[in-house]
């Protein structure tokens, strides 16, 4: 579901059904933690609103971050680890997307030779979508398995001050995001 919804972020339609606050609700709902998923989604949405998807700009992926964070919350990971794990996975996803885009340049060159323009565009688009969804799925699934294991084995033994720090950062994230949105709104256009 996460991988399918994420396609909306850049590749299909951009209806914003993939936006973090929606992704958090849907994936969180499927993982059994809709309210927590929604809160994490809102936090990630507000943190990511300052980066605009303009031109070829790739910052960390908010939709992947929210989906993974909601899945981690559903797997009963601590809220700080869920948020941080989601953001790290979102950053990794952007790195992989940059690699995918470079690979597509090669496919584009083949298209420009005119060899595939008669029949190949539709299937090529479907293949591109499937490959991207597969990358997202594998990355998100690996991240959830690894980060939830880290939470159980390592994080529970980490110094208390670190755990509190991560928890406070997660709690304060929406406030920081709201402040950022306020400042952006007040700046001159």
């Amino acid at each position: 579901m996460l991988a399918a919804l994420e396609l909306d972020a850049v590749m299909v339609a951009q209806t914003l059904v993939s936006r973090p606050m929606i992704m958090g609700v849907i994936v969180g709902g499927l993982a059994g933690a809709p309210a927590l998923g929604a809160l994490l989604g809102v936090a990630i949405e507000l943190l990511s609103l300052s980066s605009l998807p303009v031109g070829g700009h790739l910052s960390w992926s908010g939709p992947v971050a929210a989906g993974v964070a909601a899945l981690l919350a559903g797997a009963e990971c601590s809220i700080g680890v869920s948020l941080a794990g989601g953001v790290i996975t979102g950053a990794l996803h952007s790195g992989l997307e940059a690699v995918e885009r470079r690979r597509r340049s090669v496919a584009g060159n083949a298209l420009s030779l005119g060899a595939r323009t008669d029949t190949g565009l539709g299937p090529a688009m479907v293949k591109t979508l499937a490959a991207h969804a597969a990358v997202t799925f594998v990355l998100a699934a690996s991240a959830v398995v690894l980060i939830s294991a880290f939470d159980r084995v390592c994080w529970s033994r980490a110094p208390e001050c670190l755990q509190i720090g991560a928890q406070i950062a997660a709690f304060c994230a929406p406030w920081i995001g709201l402040s950022s949105v306020t400042v952006r709104g007040l700046r001159r256009v």
Partner: protein, 262 residues
């Protein structure tokens, strides 16, 4: 316009425009997606001249980039231009084809600037704040319905109703009025909408913060106020919100290590 686009053809091109960015790549950006969207119409216009059809496809594989919603307006203008080019011969055809390339390169970039500011820079944050405020309203009014469903639906509607209207109207206007549709855009006063939306979003964000604060216990309220105030100062200085969250986490860990916060 020399060849009328049937409603079915409009629907086909419009549906395919949803996949504009599927083939996004650094060298040509949205060119593959744009060609994919236009392909049925190119077939209808140039189908009787197979070499011209091949050339038309190759032309549209050249660099193209704009905002995904602005692409609908440009697609309308380009479709009209392709039909006009196919209806003439010789030098006139060459001039018509050059005009199409110019629409894409010249207007693509300038429209992207306006649409990016309106849809990504103003409407996207505004719709997020609308969603958050609606969710709080459900909680505060004690309505027995999941707040996150209401908030999510409100955010989606607040973005998509204007966005889909802009897509469809842009496509139609482009088809009907060609280049003149750009004059219509210029007369809309979009800059005023952007300023209004951004100010309203800032006010909505403050209201959402106050509503949220009203349901917190005192200790968490303190953390919220401190992080919100620090966020205002740091955001004003251009520090990324994600980095600010990292600072807050590190500061909280340090304070906790001293035993002041348990």
């Amino acid at each position: 316009m020399s060849q009328e686009m049937t409603p079915l053809m409009k629907a086909r091109v419009a549906f395919r425009l949803l996949f504009l960015q599927t083939g996004w790549e650094p060298a040509r950006m949205q060119a593959t997606g744009f060609l994919f969207a236009l392909d049925p119409w190119l077939g209808a216009c140039w189908g009787f001249e197979s070499e011209e059809l091949r050339r038309a496809r190759l032309r549209h594989l050249e660099y193209f980039n704009t905002h995904p919603i602005a692409a609908w307006l440009l697609a309308g203008i380009v479709c009209r231009g392709e039909a006009a080019a196919a209806a003439v011969q010789g030098v006139q055809r060459q001039l018509a084809i050059e005009k199409i390339s110019r629409y894409k390169t010249d207007y693509g970039a300038s429209l992207a600037g306006i649409y990016d500011s309106l849809f990504w820079g103003a409407l996207r944050p505004a719709s997020a704040v609308v969603g958050i405020l609606c969710a709080f309203l459900v909680v505060r009014l004690g309505i027995r319905f999941p707040f996150f469903v209401v908030g999510g639906a409100a955010a989606l509607a607040a973005y998509n109703v204007p966005a889909f209207a802009a897509r469809w109207i842009g496509f139609q206007r482009g088809l009907e009025r060609g280049e003149n549709a750009l004059v219509d855009i210029a007369s809309l006063g979009v800059q005023t909408w952007i300023v209004f939306l951004r100010r309203a979003t800032a006010a909505g964000a403050v209201l959402a913060g106050l509503l949220w604060a009203s349901i917190l216990e005192p200790r968490l309220l303190l953390a919220a106020v401190v992080s919100g105030a620090a966020g205002l100062a740091l955001s004003w200085r251009g520090v990324e919100p994600l980095m600010q969250a990292g600072f807050v986490g590190a500061a909280a860990a340090a304070v906790s290590a001293t035993g002041l916060w348990k």
